[in-house]
């Protein structure tokens, strides 16, 4: 079916400045062409698309990235105290000089360009493949665009327990960089890998992370997205989770003009676990934060959790679109989904679309979505004990976010991010 003209024109305009990366092996070129064909067939999102009704894709569609002022943080960088393998990207381009040597016991790690140039490389079974699977039933055309055009990224294969986390650090040096990054990760059977991400990356960022967790593997992901107020980001994670495997991901977002974090997880092996959580703090009408999650259960006795908490003030907008799909035969599924917002004034809004679609009869799935203000009774109780109003509101705000923060397993990482929440509240931005 031909695309509507407006959509076709918008897609063409966005693609015009882009060119397909050269130097790939035949399989990689084919994967990129397939992805480009997907973009052509789907067209890039428009405001009227069902999954873009709450987040306006205009800033993601413009041929050039909207300018975003550089931001100099006065905080220590996230995860500073954590022993980790650092991979630094500046404006979306890997910087070997600032990065560690890409070798670590139990890991095979290289650049996307390197992996895709090899005639035989394991990543061909993952690159563009999980993204393509994740296009149904909901289209994610920006992710297909990324597969076609992204030249930068890392490719990681974990074959045992990684000695330390791989930390992807995204710095900025210009106000107009438009970055496309594509990471490919495979956690082999019984292996264990943690990936950290932090930083704004670019004025406009589009990432895809494809994560294939084999039977009995474990993948942990913790990220924070940069305090730059004007940055824009569309991130996509496509995960495939095998038997007895674990997938856990947490995202902290403070500030940013536009953040759309999409997570698509397919649980294909029995007894697997997939948790996705996020906490966000947004201040001002220029803040738009969107979590769009789709978890498919296609195996027995699997557990999934979605825990999202948003604190919004001064006209900020938070969005949650979360779905649990339980396929026929996925018995004993345990699915949990909670999305909550704390609205600190009348101007902020939270738009939530929780969805359950269940085709098995022996499952336990629950979901809840709430919007609320600060509990006045609790506030008075704290103040009556001498806690000043602002401090009391902060304490209750942290309490509201606690359930999401508790999803971070590693206590050192959790404490690092909790400290950032406290600092954000103290600064009031």
């Amino acid at each position: 079916m031909a695309l509507p003209k407006l959509k076709a024109d918008a897609t063409e305009a966005r693609l015009a400045p882009l060119s397909l990366p050269q130097g790939g092996a035949a399989w990689a070129e084919a994967a990129r062409h397939d992805a480009l064909n997907r973009v052509g067939a789907m067209g890039l999102p428009a405001r009227r698309d069902e999954y873009w009704r709450y987040t306006n894709p205009a800033d993601l569609l413009s041929p050039q990235a909207p300018r975003a002022a550089l931001f100099v943080s006065d905080e220590l960088p996230p995860f500073d105290a954590v022993d980790r393998l650092k991979v630094v990207f500046v404006d979306g381009v890997i910087d070997p000089a600032q990065s560690d040597d890409l070798t670590l016991a139990g890991l095979e790690i290289t650049t996307l360009a390197d992996a895709l140039s090899q005639d035989a490389h394991w990543s061909r079974e993952v690159f563009g493949q999980l993204e393509a699977r994740g296009q149904k039933p909901v289209e994610r055309a920006f992710a297909a665009l990324n597969t076609a055009f992204a030249a930068e990224g890392v490719v990681i294969r974990a074959m045992g327990k990684a000695a330390k986390p791989v930390s992807l650090i995204y710095r900025r040096s210009t106000e107009t960089a438009d970055a496309l990054m594509h990471h490919v990760i495979r956690v082999e059977s019984g292996a264990d890998l943690s990936v950290l991400e932090n930083g704004p990356a670019a004025a406009r960022l589009n990432t895809v992370m494809e994560v294939d967790v084999a039977d009995g593997g474990a993948f942990h992901h913790v990220r924070t997205q940069g305090r730059d107020r004007e940055r824009r980001a569309a991130t996509h994670i496509f995960a495939r989770v095998g038997e007895g495997a674990t997938y856990k991901s947490f995202t902290l977002t403070v500030n940013g003009a536009l953040t759309r974090n999409e997570t698509v997880i397919e649980i294909l092996g029995d007894d697997a676990v997939a948790h996705v959580a996020g906490a966000c703090l947004g201040d001002g009408a220029d803040f738009n934060h969107d979590d769009t999650v789709f978890i498919t259960h296609d195996a027995l006795r699997c557990e999934s959790r979605q825990v999202f908490k948003k604190v919004l003030k001064n006209g900020a907008t938070g969005i949650f679109q979360g779905k649990i799909l339980v396929k026929p035969g996925a018995q004993k599924t345990d699915g949990y989904q909670i999305s909550q917002s704390l609205l600190l004034d009348d101007d902020s809004q939270f738009l939530a679309k929780p969805e359950l679609e269940i085709y098995a009869d022996d499952v336990a799935c629950s979901h809840g979505s709430t919007s609320g203000a600060i509990d006045e009774t609790a506030l008075f109780y704290l103040r009556s004990r001498g806690v000043p109003e602002k401090e009391a509101v902060d304490l209750l705000t942290l309490a509201f976010l606690a359930e999401a923060m508790d999803e971070i397993e590693d206590q050192a990482l959790a404490d690092d991010l909790r400290g950032r929440l406290v600092a954000w509240l103290r600064r009031r931005h």
Partner: protein, 251 residues
């Protein structure tokens, strides 16, 4: 210590008058009790003194050591030395009891120009007090009042009182929902704070609590006013005869 003069107040939204001219003076070191039937305005009086939203004072005054309470924010009243033990202590999920106590104490110390206590010093300070109230380490770690029994919640109120060391303590029906043993424990906690300088205003329905916390003065409140003031014997009179006679007399 606490001086309440011709205090009139109404519910802000409904405009319904609750307090219709309360006069009360609590001297330093004294324990005053307020008794009265349901709906007489006892709890409203305690909320207004502590600074809860939703009430409008239309006439009269309330001062603590000569300082106007009604002009102050709730946290300023606390820093000035006022403490209200709630009838229904509030559950605050996500805030640890220890964090709560330490934040409160340090906020008050800061307001009073004192140095904040370190985590270690604070822990020692609280553990000692918690022990006498039979509050264990587990209860201190749990979120404020979440999953606490009625008795545990009231003991936690008394712990806060002991930690914050206020000069004027108001206890709003602290005996409600307590069995005899829990009431003794709470009363001991309160009595331990009687030092000849600190004052107490104990609001209760029943004489029972006053067996354990001996009042110097007993007031009967009805229909938004203090209608009788007397010694401890007044509480016994209520216990034996109910409020009917007193109310009839007042009318």
């Amino acid at each position: 210590m606490l001086t309440i003069n011709n205090l009139h107040a109404e519910l802000e939204e409904e405009g319904k008058q609750i307090l219709k001219g309360v006069d009360l003076v609590v001297e330093p070191g004294k324990v005053h009790a307020i008794m009265g039937p349901n709906g007489s305005g006892k709890s409203t009086l305690s909320y207004i003194l502590a600074g809860r939203d939703g009430y409008a004072v239309t006439e009269g005054s309330a001062t603590l050591d000569g300082v106007d309470l009604l002009e102050m924010a709730p946290e300023e009243r606390a820093a000035a030395g006022l403490f209200l033990a709630f009838q229904y202590p509030v559950e605050i999920p996500g805030v640890g009891n220890m964090t709560f106590l330490r934040t409160a104490l340090n906020a008050q110390r800061k307001a009073q120009g004192q140095e904040e206590l370190s985590a270690g010093d604070f822990l020692k300070f609280v553990r000692e007090k918690a022990k006498t109230l039979k509050i264990d380490a587990e209860m201190l770690k749990r979120p404020v009042n979440v999953g606490f029994s009625g008795g545990e919640k009231k003991r936690n109120e008394i712990l806060q009182m002991q930690v914050l060391e206020p000069k004027m303590c108001i206890l709003d029906e602290t005996d409600s929902g307590l069995d005899v043993d829990a009431m003794k424990l709470v009363a001991e906690g309160v009595n331990g704070l009687r030092d000849g300088k600190r004052s107490f205003l104990v609001i209760t329905h029943y004489q029972r609590l006053l067996d354990h916390i001996q009042p110097d003065v007993v007031h009967i409140m009805a229909n938004g006013r203090i209608i009788r003031t007397g010694g401890p014997e007044l509480a016994l009179e209520v216990e034996n005869n109910g409020y009917a006679d007193l109310l009839a007399e007042a009318n």
